[in-house]
């Protein structure tokens, strides 16, 4: 129990410290509940997108096409919403997301080229498909009456359900164990009888569930989804990907499911904090980059840091002893 408490405190230390820093700098803008609540709500969609990215990322796949797949799912959902209402939106988004992620998984399995190269090519193709589906104006809008999942409390309930689903799939299924086995050593996993190709296809497919949900929430929250071209859809991936990388580092002290959310929440504190501090957009990217590097360096080098710390303590003791 004590161990769990310590780990929880250690995990929460990251967002709390970052929040306190901004609170100290701009208390008048950062010290209100609305600000905190906005940060929480803004973390939901990128967290669910990050869950979609995480499956592939854990087993060594890099999926560049997630943004374009999300757009197609959103566009199809939007088009179906116009005809069949909320049910059409949900169904359209799910069917298109699952179909396209399954297709990506199968192509990855068949072509046997690096996933980075394959998904980059597919992203370009999917972007054109999305544009064509979006029609003349290049975007699809839904009626406000259909945008029921974009605001609280619905979005919070969906988030909790997605967190639970990811936690279950990742920790309590054969797929989850196989996924980690493939991610840690593909050759050993194969030798142990794991069907690596099937695991990778499933990684894309299960990612599609979260992708569909993030597409629906994006559509409901923004009221529209716009097509992207010339790899513009790739920008959707960056912040969720950073949170996955941070969560993988935090895994020592925190389950990946919560780690992704904690990381995304922390990133959003920085994002809103810098806006509230009146800093320009370019500076925000610099700070996010530095933050990522610091956290990665600190967590990846814990042993070296411990050695340096013990050396420092030893030297201090010796010096202290000499003086007396």
């Amino acid at each position: 129990m004590k161990k769990i408490l310590i780990r929880t405190l250690e995990t929460l230390a990251l967002p709390v410290v970052v929040y306190l820093i901004f609170l100290a700098i701009i208390p008048e803008r950062f010290g209100n509940w609305n600000c905190f609540y906005t940060i929480f709500l803004q973390s939901i969609i990128p967290t669910i997108t990050a869950y979609a990215i995480a499956f592939g990322n854990i087993c060594g796949l890099f999926d560049f096409s997630i943004g374009s797949e999300q757009i197609i799912s959103g566009v199809v959902g939007g088009l179906m919403a116009a005809k069949y209402g909320v049910a059409g939106m949900v169904l359209g988004a799910f069917i298109s997301a699952l179909f396209i992620t399954l297709l990506t998984g199968i192509l990855n399995s068949v072509f046997r080229i690096p996933s980075l190269v394959l998904t980059m090519g597919l992203a370009m193709i999917y972007e054109i498909v999305g544009s064509k589906l979006a029609g003349h104006y290049g975007f699809v809008q839904i009626d406000t009456e259909h945008a029921i999942f974009g605001s609280s409390p619905e979005i919070v309930i969906i988030f909790i359900a997605m967190l639970a689903l990811f936690y279950f799939l990742f920790n309590h299924t054969v797929f989850g164990y196989n996924l980690r086995a493939v991610g840690s050593n593909e050759t050993v996993a194969k030798a142990s009888g794991v069907d690596v190709r099937a695991v990778k296809i499933k990684a894309f497919f299960y990612g599609g569930i979260f992708l569909a949900v993030s597409a629906i929430l994006t559509l409901c929250q923004s009221g529209s989804v716009g097509a992207q071209q010339s790899l513009g859809s790739v920008t959707v991936i960056f912040k969720p990907l950073i949170s996955v990388l941070l969560a993988l580092v935090l895994q020592k002290i925190c389950n990946l499911s919560f780690g992704i959310f904690i990381a995304q929440f922390t990133l959003n504190i920085i994002f809103i904090g810098l806006i509230a501090a009146g800093l320009p957009d370019t500076f925000q990217n610099v700070v996010l980059g530095i933050f990522l590097l610091i956290v990665m360096i600190l967590f990846r080098n814990t042993e070296r840091i411990e050695i340096l710390k013990s050396r420092f303590v030893k030297r201090t003791c010796i010096l202290g002893g000499g003086e007396t």
Partner: protein
């Protein structure tokens, strides 16, 4: 009877004389020598504005009897230089492009000079003094159009100030882009003159999720914010996304919203009084007049004899739903904002000797949404 015959004769003579007088002495009915204009443009982009830009350039080239050759581009400096090289190898007589940066222009000019190809620009001014001077001395640079981005940004901030805006959240395209920098400068100047406080500016938003996030962050971080100004963005459905974010926070209508560059959904929000002012329309007239400058140069009848021609195209103001509807119909449709006959008669010197830089400037000074709607309405 004699008087009647005499009167009829006089009238017939007057009518015949007036017919001759109406045709310029130098007007040519035959087309000029066949020519090709190269145009690097992203024709895969389905955005109606991007399509309308292509349509307006094409209308000018074809009205003058030429052929438009397109190469697909991402409009980056490197890609545009490759595009110029490709178009030259395809034997074009002139190239129209939207420069990504001043620094690429000397390279473009050198390539065109070697090949004996005229070139022109659209949408962009040349800010770098040394490059500008060198380009305006070039024999092969035909000139181009740009807008007074700075004045436009200053004016829209002042318009919003008159609507009661005191604290403004701003969104703009990426820094380093000539228009973006000028609009920033203009907005700062307008804000200073009108006593408006610019709270923050976020750049280079390209997807709706980031747009929502930025607006929500502004609302959370700046409770005093009472205006949002989009100086520019390449994000699809920017205004619907902003309006949705504002509505979700019960701020629609309370926070005044303005933008530079028109988009298709403005009419809905103007009629709901949740969107308040837009300046734009230059996205159609600028490429059209830029193409006019280049085509006249290529066919040997330049608009001005003393070097490259630079024309400042106007920004139009949109504040009501009817204007928005007309804009969607007449600016974003398949037709250009001037029809082929109008282009031929009033913008191509080969067909009408009276056409020159001043006459084109005078013509576009009356350009407005109502003007295009009236002219297109007549032809339908």
């Amino acid at each position: 009877m004699n008087l009647r015959k005499f009167t009829a004769g006089v009238l017939s003579f007057s009518l015949a004389a007036s017919l001759f007088a109406a045709v310029p002495v130098s007007a040519k009915s035959e087309a000029p020598e066949p020519f090709k204009i190269g145009f690097p443009w992203d024709t895969a982009n389905t955005d109606p504005t991007w399509i309308s830009i292509y349509n307006n350039v094409e209308a000018v080239v074809e009205a003058a009897g030429g052929e438009l050759i397109n190469v697909t581009t991402d409009n980056s400096a490197d890609e545009l230089i490759n595009n110029v090289s490709e178009l030259i190898s395809r034997g074009v007589d002139g190239i129209l492009l939207m420069p990504a940066a001043d620094s690429m222009l000397p390279t473009v000019d050198a390539m065109c000079a070697d090949a004996g190809v005229y070139w022109g620009t659209m949408f962009r001014t040349i800010s770098d003094e040394a490059i500008r001077e060198a380009m305006y001395e070039s024999e092969w640079f035909a000139g181009g159009c740009n807008e007074d981005d700075e004045a436009c940004a200053a004016n829209i901030v002042k318009s919003m100030s008159e609507m009661g805006v005191t604290d403004l959240g701003v969104i703009n395209i990426a820094k380093g882009d000539t228009s973006s920098d000028l609009r920033d400068k203009g907005a700062a100047q307008g804000a200073e003159e009108a006593g408006v406080n610019i709270l923050n500016t976020t750049y280079d938003i390209s997807v709706t999720t980031d747009m929502t996030k930025t607006i929500e962050s502004y609302i959370a971080a700046y409770p005093e914010m009472n205006g949002i100004l989009v100086l520019g963005t390449y994000c699809e459905a920017a205004i619907p996304t902003i309006e949705k974010a504002l509505a979700d926070h019960d701020k629609a209508g309370e926070i005044k919203v303005g933008r530079i560059d028109f988009e298709s959904e403005l009419g809905t929000y103007l009629s709901e009084d949740t969107f308040h002012v837009a300046y734009g329309g230059q996205q159609q007239i600028d490429p059209l007049v830029s193409a006019v400058i280049l085509v006249n140069q290529v066919i040997g009848t330049p608009l001005s004899e003393d070097g490259p021609t630079n024309i400042i195209t106007p920004y139009l103001e949109m504040t009501d739903a009817q204007e928005a509807e007309d804009f969607n119909q007449y600016f974003l449709g398949e037709e250009a904002v001037y029809n082929p006959e109008e282009i031929k008669d009033t913008m191509i010197r080969y067909y009408n000797e009276d056409v020159n830089k001043e006459s084109v400037e005078e013509l576009i000074s009356t350009f407005s949404i109502a003007d295009v709607a009236a002219r297109h309405g007549e032809t339908k």
